[in-house]
């Protein structure tokens, strides 16, 4: 049985223009549903509306028309604001902009403290959240002395301490090195697979998107492709037309097919790609 985490219906949204400038429309009738417990990656070029969508999911921004229903709650209903924010947590690109305290565990306690949670319960939640992101040993450290990947995991722990049902991550790895990226991705994948958390990952890295259950490709506020990573990334031409690129693995298979081979394009991980190639080229 699967329930719906988000239902977006006929969503319209524009950013108001400055003074006598016209409004900047982003969405004009977007429809989308996201299942509870799924790992969804959203990709698209800069300015396609990905980050705006993320902010509409937990009522940081409100629709100009249509509706966003998060866990059965309409984001336009002001009385539900806190309830929505508790269920849908967000993590942004720059780890330094999200950390408020001088001690890791105090930072993680920030949200539950603001929600008025009992101190004993806060202690429990903070310890639990730090364990889940693998940062428990660092609970007494100063955040500014940690690496980017570690800081981003602290930011994720801060969201987990609210006990949300969904976590929305807006390019969480853009500022990280390969090691940091790996740590953050493994953490969010584990949250989805082991705890059934809904994960919405906004990213420019196609090799991150291939780990998701579902990839949504956006351009100018519209969904142009939506499906399993294998299906979406095999449409190399569609991606190219929209200023995106498929992972190098899919591109290699695609290029070989143009030379007369007929290889399945959904072998996206280096392992799967190597297996496909070995079969086709082994003498």
């Amino acid at each position: 049985m699967s329930n719906t985490a988000f239902t977006i219906q006929n969503l319209r949204f524009s950013y108001p223009g400055a003074e006598d400038m016209p409004d900047t429309p982003v969405f004009d009738g977007l429809n989308l549903t996201i299942e509870e417990g799924s790992f969804v990656a959203v990709v698209g070029h800069n300015g396609c509306g990905k980050s705006t969508l993320a902010k509409l999911l937990n009522a940081v921004l409100l629709p100009c028309g249509g509706s966003v229903i998060a866990y059965g709650m309409d984001t336009k209903d002001e009385k539900l604001l806190l309830a929505i924010r508790k269920r849908v947590g967000m993590v942004f690109q720059n780890p330094d902009n999200q950390i408020v305290s001088n001690v890791v565990e105090e930072d993680v306690a920030f949200a539950p403290e603001n929600l008025g949670v009992e101190p004993a319960e806060i202690r429990k939640r903070v310890d639990d959240a730090l364990r889940r992101v693998g940062m428990y040993e660092y609970r007494n450290h100063a955040p500014h002395l940690l690496s980017g990947g570690q800081k981003q995991r602290i930011a994720i722990a801060g969201v987990l301490a609210m006990q949300p049902k969904c976590i929305v991550l807006d390019e969480p790895t853009a500022m990280l090195d390969p090691q940091g990226r790996k740590e953050v991705l493994e953490t969010i994948e584990r949250l989805c697979r082991e705890s059934g958390m809904t994960v919405v990952l906004i990213t420019h890295h196609m090799d991150e998107a291939i780990r998701a259950d579902r990839v949504i490709v956006m351009t100018s506020g519209k969904v142009i492709a939506d499906g399993k990573p294998g299906e979406v990334f095999s449409r190399v031409e569609l991606l190219r037309e929209n200023r995106l690129t498929a992972p190098d693995t899919a591109q290699l298979l695609y290029e070989l097919n143009r030379e007369g081979y007929s290889l399945a394009l959904d072998a996206l991980s280096p392992e799967a790609c190597a297996q496909t190639l070995a079969k086709a080229f082994k003498v």
Binding site: A18, G44, H45, N46, G47, Q93, S147, G148, G149, E171, A174, M175, L176, D177, P178, Q179, G180, R181, H204, M206, D207, R243, L244, T245, P247, D248, T249, Q251, L252, E255, L256, E259, G260, Y261, S262, P270, E271, C273, A274, Q275, L277, A278, A280, F281, K282
Partner: protein, 287 residues
């Protein structure tokens, strides 16, 4: 030939004499040749940013030397100042440093500080804008009315308008989409070729390093661990992974193919190279 920039046994210690003492550079010997495109890679905390800040005299070595065109950049005050104009540094997320009322004024800030005359400043601003792909119209706008990608372009133009001999960029494509990144790198390559200046790019993307640079320098733990052509460096996949780095996706595929018993050259790292290598092997006989 004397390298345009060189460090000799460079050491840097932060917060010396406190419990936070941290030795960020432990004897770095590193050289940038005139006109080359070099990628500097290394995990967070490996010392890349500390090194880069020494190259245009933002940080003073605790020990060792930085030479510009063979001369110690700290040898006299006037030379230190001159080096800051000849080695341009573009920080991470440079668009946050825009501050002028118009894009034009922002790009002109550096050349103005160099004491150039008006016509020269004007010419340089336009040349720089053209290289990064900013239109005449964009020059008259406020930098805050530009899109993120264009703001990044404006910030980079501000540094290249000083026409430095060495342009250093710290993760210039972070946060840009694949198309925007590709365009930016293409512009940089074009600028480098036309100007015959050296470019040093700090990056976390092995694909990007592979595609642009003629030489890679790998840093770890405050020292240079490897350097050479991309081909030679990526051949050490296991070593790179141990250093918290990665190899390009395509290289991973080929390393796996070799494990699977195929006799392939594992020094490929782009889609084109991989395609050529595989087609040669299949001798145009699709199955």
């Amino acid at each position: 030939m004397t390298p345009i920039l060189e460090t000799k046994n460079l050491h840097h210690v932060y917060s010396d004499g406190t419990p936070f003492r941290h030795e960020a550079l432990k004897g770095v010997d590193f050289a940038v040749q005139r006109g080359e495109f070099l990628a500097l890679i290394g995990h967070t905390g490996s010392g890349k940013s500390t090194l880069v800040q020494h190259l245009n005299a933002l940080l003073k070595p605790t020990d060792g030397q930085v030479l510009f065109d063979g001369k110690d950049i700290w040898s006299d005050k006037a030379f230190t100042r001159a080096v800051r104009f000849r080695v341009g540094l573009v920080f991470q997320y440079p668009e946050y440093q825009l501050f002028e009322e118009t894009v034009f004024a922002d790009i002109a800030f550096g050349p103005k500080n160099m004491g150039l005359d008006r016509d020269e400043i004007d010419a340089r601003v336009r040349r720089a804008a053209e290289f990064v792909g900013l239109s005449e119209k964009a020059l008259r706008k406020s930098p805050f009315d530009l899109s993120g990608g264009n703001r990044r372009r404006a910030a980079i133009a501000g540094v290249i308008a000083m026409e430095p001999d060495v342009l250093i960029l710290d993760e210039p494509t972070a946060g840009l989409d694949p198309y925007g990144s590709e365009q930016l790198l293409e512009n940089l390559r074009r600028w480098q070729a036309a100007q015959n200046s050296a470019v040093v790019m700090v990056t976390h993307s092995m694909e990007e390093a592979a595609a642009c640079a003629s030489r890679l320098v790998v840093m770890a733990d405050g020292a240079v661990k490897m350097q050479g052509e991309p081909k030679a460096v990526f051949a050490h996949a296991a070593e790179l992974e141990r250093l918290g780095l990665d190899v390009p996706q395509i290289t991973k595929v080929f390393l796996r193919l070799r494990e699977l018993g195929m006799d392939v050259d594992t020094s490929v790292f782009t889609v084109e190279q991989a395609k050529a290598a595989l087609l040669k092997r299949g001798e145009g006989a699709p199955c």
